[in-house]
Symmetry: C2
Subunit: 356 residues, 2 copies
């Protein structure tokens, strides 16, 4: 049995999106349970739903709230209360296996970090998302905005956490990892990237990682590797650039097909094909980014998600929890960092605790 | 009168693409002249063309030649000889106003830098290209791969050079500049980006720049600013990511329309619309990246360019030369760096020479 905690107030649309998504999720997963967190009046429609617990929270982190406000002032926010559900209590058991929120990314990361703490061996949590690729599969990309100045060791940690995520959610034992660079040759890139390449190769030689080598921006979409690792600045730019291009192309296609009566007729004939295409690249299907490296599973939905998209984020969190993602990340980090001589004090020998 | 030097051997296809492009260019520009550089036998078809001078070069820089080979071993390469045409001779006059090559980027940058040197006040030349945007215009993006570890001062130099390029080629007196970041707020981003933002704001306050502020990856395609400035690593990833996504979407559209007899019929009806769309986003129309900050104009065509695409690169070089891009870059750098107290020794007071 998997139990998810849901921040029902987060995102641009709040309960009008999250509640229908939760309802659909419960119908699709007869063995799942939900903890719905939010203001009492907002949760009212969910009263009496099966396999549902309602937990009240009096405050809401707004999409434009600064991190400090979310962290210091709104201590009874739905976001924070939902995250707290995945923090183990005194018995070592948490109320929920994973938490999902569509709230603002900076606040979600900061509050998660504050409430849950990072796993030992992890300096910085990362945000991982998936993008569709030409092989009709997904490429998992991390980090996506949490860490702007990364050291080589962080990129290694991202690679390990990404591998754990893909092996948990997609069932691949040793997913391949590419290091995002500006050329395939090992001598390319900044000093940080070159050193990260050495660390990744060393981890691969020790059998801890399936490291492919350098990949380039286009390989996110060719699907050359299962995972693409980069610092948060580069990852955010790549993601936003892709979103911008997709949005431009989609508006151009619409413009072309609505230009005049003939193009409108053509649109009617082409509609089934265009709809099939649209469905195939529908970004809502890929909604649900994982915050990795915390002592608890947190998933972030796009703020503008509709009910269908939010349900996908719930599905991703469910799959991750069901496949013990937290243990897998922990195990990979422990075995790799203990074996690697090159990492710093983060990998100091000695017992590595999963919980504080 | 404008004279361009053309490396006819560069690119994946060499003279079979460059010569037809040159011929079309000459027909379209009755006042332009070309210096065609390459092996004698390769240039044979161009013998007797009007407004054409043939210059022999015995070697060719291959697309996979390391930079060292291009720089040290192939001293009589068509690339190097073509670049040398824009270097001023003893009388201060150069044989050509700009040079165009489809040869490999690393080699072209290294040889250009070695032969021409950088303008005073410029630490690192940059590569600038244009991408289509939602306003049916272009966004100029730089740097695109020449500089992986940039200081704030370099980003300021890129902003100035990009402004000179856009004002020369597009006739905008004060084009707007955005700093590529992971959020719009000034407090976002790495230390380098934050300091670059301060430098750009300071230059804008002094009237040297039309600085908009931070932009995000998607703004390359929304066209929020005329110019987007970033370091070469980020710019390269953004460009390649966009190329990868465009290529995936285009292959998906093809797959959808060729799925069965019904979709193929739909394709026939939709063909004029799809072709119009295709033409609108045709990357060949945007071919021709400028290498900025050198004491001579060098333009880089995509290696895989066909004759139509290579001709666009010739057009861009022609427009830049005709509108005195070199002087404009020089003037902007001089007036801004002399006025800014915050830049380092690169901006030391005293006369700033355009040629050594």
């Amino acid at each position: 049995m998997v139990r998810l905690a849901v921040d029902c107030m987060g995102g641009d649309h709040g309960p009008s999106v999250t509640l229908p998504a939760c309802q659909a999720f419960l119908e699709a997963h007869p063995h799942a349970e939900l903890i719905l967190v939010g203001r009492a009046e907002a949760l009212a429609p969910a009263r009496g739903w099966p396999r549902c617990t309602l937990v009240e929270a009096s405050e809401v982190v707004e999409m434009d709230d600064p991190v400090e406000v979310a962290l210091r002032r709104k201590k009874d926010s739905s976001m924070r209360v939902a995250i707290s559900q995945v923090k183990p209590g005194e018995g070592g058991q948490a109320a929920a296996d994973a938490c999902v929120s569509a709230g603002n990314t900076g606040a979600l990361m900061a509050v998660s970090r504050y409430v849950l703490k990072t796993l030992q061996g992890i300096d910085r949590p990362a945000i991982a998302t998936v993008m569709p690729n030409q092989k009709d599969g997904y490429t998992t990309v991390l980090d996506l905005g949490a860490n702007v100045d990364c050291e080589p060791e962080h990129l290694l940690q991202f690679a390990l956490m990404g591998s754990a995520l893909v092996s948990a959610v997609e069932g691949k034992a040793q997913p391949s990892v590419g290091l995002l660079n500006i050329g395939e040759e090992a001598i390319k890139g900044s000093e940080t990237i070159k050193k990260a390449g050495e660390l990744l190769r060393s981890a691969a030689n020790d059998g801890h990682l399936n490291f492919y080598g350098n990949v380039e921006g286009n390989d996110i979409f060719t699907g050359r590797t299962d995972i693409v690792v980069c610092d948060g600045f580069v990852g955010n730019v790549a993601l936003k650039t892709a979103e911008g291009l997709a949005s431009m192309l989609s508006s151009f296609i619409k413009q072309e097909f609505t230009r005049n009566i003939f193009t409108k007729l053509a649109a009617i004939v082409a509609l089934p094909v265009l709809n099939h295409f649209k469905k195939r690249v529908d970004h809502r299907r890929y909604n649900g980014a994982a915050l990795l490296g915390l002592r608890g599973l947190v998933f972030k939905s796009h703020g503008s998600a509709d009910a269908f998209a939010f349900e996908q984020a719930l599905n991703r969190a469910y799959d991750a929890a069901r496949n013990r993602l937290l243990d897998r990340v922990h195990d990979r980090i422990v075995e790799t960092l203990q074996a690697l001589p090159s990492t710093d004090e983060a990998a100091a020998p000695g017992p590595v605790a999963k919980t504080a």
